[in-house]
């Protein structure tokens, strides 16, 4: 303990320090000499987190009244005790003097710096996920389907694109694209506002869309969106997805999607109330995080008037399909 880093730091400003550091040395060494490692009252009052120990004057503590018999010395880390008794009050002036600032110091401390001298990592990022890109084989036909979402933006504000669609026996049955502004309102939830364009079925329709999406407790990917159409129609979709890890690469993805309409619209094949529920189970293998082929089964059921309208058109209200596809992201 004969050496102190003061030697290292006292080279700061030699002339100044030579004059001032001598007493500092003396004090410092005196401190060394009187530092015993004997156990002291290492039983501070129940620490309520508010006690500022630095403000305590240990020298005024009555260590004589401490009941040492209650202490478990075996658990003490004597090496960790830096404090001896009695401890001199902390000096108000630094032992190692603060160097006086010169004009040269000021110049070196605050040099002129160009704006933009610091490069920053990009704050705008983007991602495109083709969550489902699949071929399906149902009881009443075959076709293709997709569901994709993408975002571009920062941590809080993002532009979202979502698209979903289905082809059946060579015809596009449904296709839509949503363009939405999304804002994180909590760590796990984004609020979205935007438009949805239906390209199928029937005439294309435009909707105003409002929604939330995020990660619900227990890690359910959830989104709920309400749509207001030009005709005053009101519709809603809720989708919940989960990932069940069979291994870290073999992942079972159950999902449920339900859609509702407020008004009866026979021309679009929609009744009021619950229109459709789709439940799927897809098993994917992540060859890499970005590329995962899957197989699965999906069941779709139409309800109420919606079912009737479709059955009247010669379609079935229920279908169970085998699916095979890929999940990729960029």
């Amino acid at each position: 303990m004969s050496r102190s880093p003061l030697t290292a730091t006292s080279a700061l400003s030699t002339a100044l320090l030579l004059a001032l550091s001598a007493p500092a040395w003396a004090q410092s060494h005196a401190g060394h000499a009187t530092t015993p490692t004997a156990a002291t009252a290492d039983a501070p009052p129940a620490d309520d987190g508010n006690v500022d120990h630095s403000q305590m004057d240990h020298s005024t503590m009555d260590h004589g009244t401490t009941d040492h018999s209650q202490m478990d010395h075996s658990k003490m880390d004597h090496a960790a005790m830096g404090h001896g008794v009695p401890k001199a009050p902390a000096p108000t002036a630094p032992l190692e003097p603060i160097p006086a600032v010169t004009a040269a110091d000021r110049l070196a401390a605050f040099p002129p710096i160009d704006h933009g001298a610091m490069e920053h990592a990009p704050e705008i990022h983007s991602m495109l996920l083709l969550n489902r890109l699949e071929h399906w084989d149902g009881q009443h036909g075959t076709g293709q389907a997709w569901e994709a979402s993408g975002w571009v933006g920062g941590n809080i504000n993002r532009l979202w694109l979502r698209s979903e669609g289905e082809r059946s026996d060579g015809r596009t049955e449904s296709a839509d694209l949503e363009v939405m502004y999304g804002r994180s309102v909590s760590p796990w939830w984004d609020v979205l506002v935007g438009v949805k364009q239906d390209f199928r079925p029937a005439d294309s329709r435009t909707w105003a869309a409002f929604g939330i999406q995020g990660l619900a407790p227990y890690k359910f990917e959830t989104s709920a969106t309400a749509y207001v159409g030009e005709s005053g129609q009101f519709a809603a979709t809720v989708e919940v997805e989960y990932e069940l890890l069979l291994t870290n690469r073999l992942i079972l993805q159950p999902l449920v999607e339900a859609s509702f309409s407020a008004k009866d619209e026979p021309e679009y094949g929609n009744g009021s109330g619950l229109n459709k529920v789709e439940a799927g189970l897809r098993l994917r293998y992540e060859f890499s995080r970005r590329f995962a082929p899957y197989i699965g089964i999906s069941h779709e059921r139409l309800f109420g008037d919606t079912a009737d309208y479709h059955e009247a058109a010669g379609e079935r209200a229920r279908d169970t399909r085998w699916v095979a596809g890929v999940r990729v992201w960029f």
């Binding site: 050496r3 309520d48 987190g49 500022d52 880390d77 990022h125 970005r290």
Partner: protein, 597 residues
């Protein structure tokens, strides 16, 4: 710098997993790119016979040239950023009290660069942080660094520009003391650990922003759940899964980036290259460990040898004899070993997540190798690790705990209810309702005597901050005149990191008054571990009683901790203050500290 298409995008011809982890034997810098104009002999160090033979520059007048070179650590030749054509950069070796001049030339194509001298006390305009210390070094230009060495010990230097540190711009910096060290050694080796990726580091950052859990192939599965049900019962297993599920987190998130992306290097050598440091039986060998990794904590041990730690972050400590230590990015530990009785010992440095390792050999001659240990079992984070262990067994508290979780550990929790708990931190208002804060600790402690996640009760003596104590008393002596509390915050999934929920881009500088002695209180409100580095001045870690304990330049903050340190504001200027996990810093976990008169 243009990187070829990055790996991991589909199924490109990847090196085999084994090759990727072990690296290639003769790995290293293979060539300077023609554009750099560096002479080929600068790359001789990469030859198989000379693995690990790093150039040492000890002149007071040094010329460093930063350029792009090609390197091959995995079987694929990739671009790297090098100093004088070398990765790691040459070892700089000076003497305390010297005034050194370093001319750093930038030969990169189209990219500014910089060098920061990590842990050195110097004028602000010599600190090498573009935008705070200086303008950076434009391509084709050079910057003249000049400063006096006011300290001794093991330090390092690295780029402070974007992701250049990840691309290879780091090297050891040794300052010999004026007075003899308070310990004896016969021989010494620098052991510089780092993490290498074949990816363009910028692309790796973008990947983190898209899918932060990309490398976590260790999440708990359905079979794991069934095993836990059999072992712990249905109630316990579901309660555990429920707890993590409500937080939307996973207990296997030990590190953001692991050996699925990285090949770990020891002195710029992959494990297969078997870097070898020589000794003669009975000698005392000083090993200067430096963690130059961008994102990797290493757990280091040398099976068969006790290690005596004699310095931390370049500063002498009371010697501590241990079997193993965890070294955070940017930390340095000087360790003395006395090998005898064996011809070869493995320096085994597994990453904290137990996904890979760096390794080298201490041997009596080249060509020897000792067995490489198996990596330890992968640890799981516990609620206590996360600062969620309230230390109460009562059902009432357990219920409260759960309720807190249900709030997503978010800012909506009523912390007033915790008022009576001494460990309950008071969170800054800026965390409340902040979408970038996915978690808050409910019970924090210094945990100075905790070896850390994955190192507890492993049958080995593991170094802790509590066990290290500066060899000197508080050189300043004053009690801190004021206290500033900062919380480490983040959002795992968004890969957004910050202090107090405010990323660097929107944060005000933290202002210190020249000459003051103040206390910084850090509270970790994330589930990750963060090494926090303050430029320009020392960070004097306090013990649990608030007394001077250990002088450092980088304070490691495991999850669930509250640690305090003293700062003596004796260096005028604008200083960087940040997490030394490179991608956390770039994602916002940084502040400017401005010391003004």
């Amino acid at each position: 710098m243009s990187f070829p298409k990055t790996p991991g995008t589909g199924t490109p011809p990847m090196p085999s997993r084994r090759l990727f982890v072990q690296g290639v034997a003769a790995g290293g810098v293979v060539a300077g790119l023609a554009a750099t104009g560096l002479s080929p002999r600068a790359f001789a160090a990469a030859g198989p016979g000379l693995v690990g033979a790093l150039q040492v520059l000890s002149s007071q007048d040094v010329q460093l040239s930063i350029g792009e070179s090609l390197a091959n650590f995995t079987g694929r030749t990739r671009p790297a950023i090098t100093v004088n054509g070398s990765l790691p950069a040459p070892i700089l070796r000076w003497r305390e009290g010297q005034t050194v001049s370093i001319r750093v030339a930038n030969t990169l194509q189209g990219h500014p660069t910089s060098i920061h001298w990590h842990g050195l006390l110097l004028p602000a305009n010599m600190d090498g942080v573009p935008g705070l210390s200086f303008n950076g070094i434009a391509p084709g230009e050079a910057y003249q660094y000049r400063f006096t060495l006011k300290q001794s010990g093991t330090y390092w230097y690295h780029s402070h520009s974007m992701f250049q540190e990840q691309a290879g711009l780091y090297g050891a910096l040794i300052i010999d003391p004026l007075e003899p060290a308070p310990y004896h050694f016969d021989r010494e080796h620098v052991i510089l650990l780092s993490d290498w990726t074949d990816m363009d580091p910028g692309a790796l950052f973008r990947r983190m922003k898209k899918l932060a859990e990309y490398d976590n192939y260790y999440k708990r599965t359905l079979p794991d759940f069934l095993r836990d049900v059999r072992r712990d019962g249905w109630a316990a297993a579901t309660a555990d899964r429920g707890m993590w599920g409500r937080m939307r987190m996973t207990p296997t998130d030990i590190s953001d980036i692991n050996a699925h992306t990285y090949t770990y290097l020891l002195n710029g050598t992959a494990p297969a290259g078997n870097w070898t440091g020589l000794f003669r039986s009975g000698e005392k060998v000083l090993l200067r460990f430096i963690n130059g990794g961008s994102m990797t904590y290493f757990d280091v041990r040398i099976p068969g040898l006790k290690m005596t730690v004699v310095a931390a972050d370049g500063q002498y400590i009371h010697p501590v004899s241990i079997d193993e230590f965890r070294i955070a990015p940017a930390e340095t530990f000087d360790v003395i070993v006395e090998p005898s009785g064996q011809d070869a010992y493995t320096i085994f440095c597994q990453d904290m997540g137990r996904t890979g390792h760096a390794a080298g050999t201490l041997a009596v001659r080249h060509g020897l190798q000792a067995p490489i240990p198996e990596r330890d079992a992968r640890p799981l984070l516990t609620m206590s690790d996360m600062g969620h262990d309230m230390g109460h067994a009562s059902n009432a508290m357990a219920g409260h705990d759960m309720k807190g979780m249900e709030g997503g550990c978010g800012a909506s929790m009523g912390h007033g209810a915790h008022g009576a708990d001494p460990k309950a931190p008071r969170h800054p208002a800026s965390e409340t309702g902040n979408p970038l804060v996915d978690m808050q600790s409910m019970a924090t402690e210094p945990k100075l005597d905790d070896p850390g996640i994955g190192l507890r009760d492993n049958g080995r003596d593991v170094l802790t901050y509590g066990a290290m104590r500066s060899l000197f008393d508080d050189p300043d002596g004053r009690e801190p005149g004021r206290e500033v509390e900062l919380h480490l915050t983040g959002h795992m999934e968004k890969f957004s990191w910050s202090f107090d929920g405010i990323p660097f881009a929107s944060a005000e500088p933290l202002r210190l008054n020249y000459g003051e002695r103040m206390r910084i209180v850090l509270v970790n409100d994330t589930m990750m571990q963060h090494p926090i580095h303050l430029h320009g001045v020392w960070s004097d870690l306090e013990n649990a009683d608030g007394e001077f304990h250990l002088r450092k330049h980088t304070i490691d903050m495991p999850p669930g901790t509250r640690r305090t340190y003293r700062v003596r504001a004796d260096a005028l200027g604008r200083w960087a203050y940040h997490c030394h996990l490179l991608y956390h810093m770039e994602a916002g976990m940084m502040r400017e500290v401005r010391i003004e008169e």
